[in-house]
Amino acid sequence: MKKVYGSAAEALDGLLRDDMLIAAGGFGLCGIPELLIDAIVDSGVKGLTVASNNAGVDDFGLGKLLATRQVKKMMSSYVGENAEFMRQYLSGELELEFNPQGTLAERMRAGGAGIAGFYTRTGYGTQIGEGKEVKKFGEDHYILEEGIFADLAIVKAWKADTSGNCVFRKTARNFNPPAAMCGKVCVMEVEEIVEPGELDPDAIHLPGIYVHRLIQGEHEKRIEKVTTRKKEAV
């Protein structure tokens, strides 16, 4: 099966439509599918619901899709780094469904794993639990959270082989595997495509079965908060 495409636009060809649900990998600006986001901006598709832990910053990552008003609704756990997001949300132009971070990750994994819903203590007794079914197991109360079944997943890995087996690097893994799992179709961008056999089969983070289309490209990999320490004089 041919999975490797020449560009982000080609890889997304035929997959985008207005009002669809897209799951996106990344945490902050780390491990985000930069190239695919840019191509979705260029496509002009609109009314999107995007399940992503964060919403980028004003001029990078998902912030670009917010700037162009292509997003109708975000499903996120933390959106504090994006002023335009806040403006649109407070003015009522953008819907926001807050999900606790672990619930969001688990909902994505559940969708990908054929789990329609699961019971978690997270959010019980808070406004996150409002309107959700509560069930007691043992002494504790749990709320029912549903799996996310996305029309499209856009994710970023470090390296993939042509069959889609891939590996991530350090904390850039984050939401990428669960986002990939929950997409009916998953498009992945990587820094390097290699031949089958070049990745250790014991060390694949996400098997190729989850990856339908694949592109290689250059990534800016912007750092959101540079924090350093000084080298002590020896």
């Binding site: 945490f27 902050g28 600006l29 780390c30 491990g31 832990n53 996120s76 756990s77 933390y78 959106v79 504090g80 780094e81 806040m86 949300y89 407070l90 926001l96 807050f98 606790p100 971070q101 672990g102 619930t103 969001l104 990750a105 688990e106 994505m108 994994r109 978690t120 203590r121 997270t122 959010g123 019980y124 007794g125 808070t126 406004q127 996150i128 470090w158 991530f168 690097r169 350090k170 904390t171 850039a172 893994r173 984050n174 939401f175 990428n176 595997p177 669960p178 983070h205 990999k221 912007r222 750092i223 959101e224 908060k225 540079v226 924090t227 350093t228 320490r229 000084k230 080298k231």
Partner: protein, 208 residues
């Protein structure tokens, strides 16, 4: 004399048991890492890492290596990386011994509010709701009062909750309080701070 931020962090570090896995929140809790000393503590970062190391040297930042506060960090020999679903599996599953978190309000029954001021601050809860629901011991580090001098330890929280009955211990600039049957119990005062001062600046029921 009330504790400053670093002294609060130093006091909070005493809560960590040798040989455990711990999650530190953003703000003062991050400073706790500076006071772990000889204890064998493994720091979890909920974006997918166990064994978080210190900030990198200038010029050695790696965009693929950040903590949950999105700051550049480093790894240690014992580091392991994993995805977000796995990260919260261990949090929700009770594998983390302690979380040290900031707070806006804590109620006398252990309710915690630290993620939202309706109409004003809507950044989101991040991983805080999962942490308080799953971690065995939740220690809050916070100023005892707000900028107007009003109590933040309340009979009931006024802000949207992060979790109900989840806080075990509170470390403020004035002292240390435990959530116990019936209210809060003062277990320690900062130097030159009296129990009476803590009582005066606390709305929650003090049981001792």
């Amino acid at each position: 004399m009330p504790w400053d931020r670093d002294q609060m962090a130093e006091r909070a570090a005493q809560e960590l048991e040798d040989g455990t896995y711990v999650n530190l929140g953003i703000g003062i809790p991050t400073l706790v890492a500076n006071y772990i000393g000889d204890k064998d503590i493994t720091l979890q970062s909920e974006n997918g890492m166990l064994g978080m190391g210190p900030f990198p040297y200038e010029g050695e930042e790696d965009p693929d290596l950040i903590n949950a506060g999105k700051q550049t960090i480093t790894e240690l020999p014992k580091t392991a990386y994993f995805d977000s679903a796995t990260s919260f599996a261990m949090i929700r599953g009770g594998k983390i011994a302690a979380a040290i978190l900031g707070a806006m309000e804590v109620a006398e029954n252990g309710d915690l509010a630290n993620w939202m001021i309706p109409g004003k601050l809507v950044k989101g809860m991040g991983g805080a709701m999962d942490l308080v629901a799953g971690v065995k011991k939740v220690v809050v580090v916070m100023d005892h009062t707000n900028k107007a001098g009003e109590p933040k330890l309340l009979k009931e929280c006024t802000l949207p909750l992060t979790g109900t009955g989840v806080v075990n211990r509170i470390i403020t600039n004035l002292g240390v309080l435990d959530v116990v049957e019936g209210g809060l119990k003062i277990v320690e005062c900062a130097p030159e701070v009296t129990e009476q001062e803590i009582r005066d600046k606390t709305e929650a029921t003090i049981v001792n």
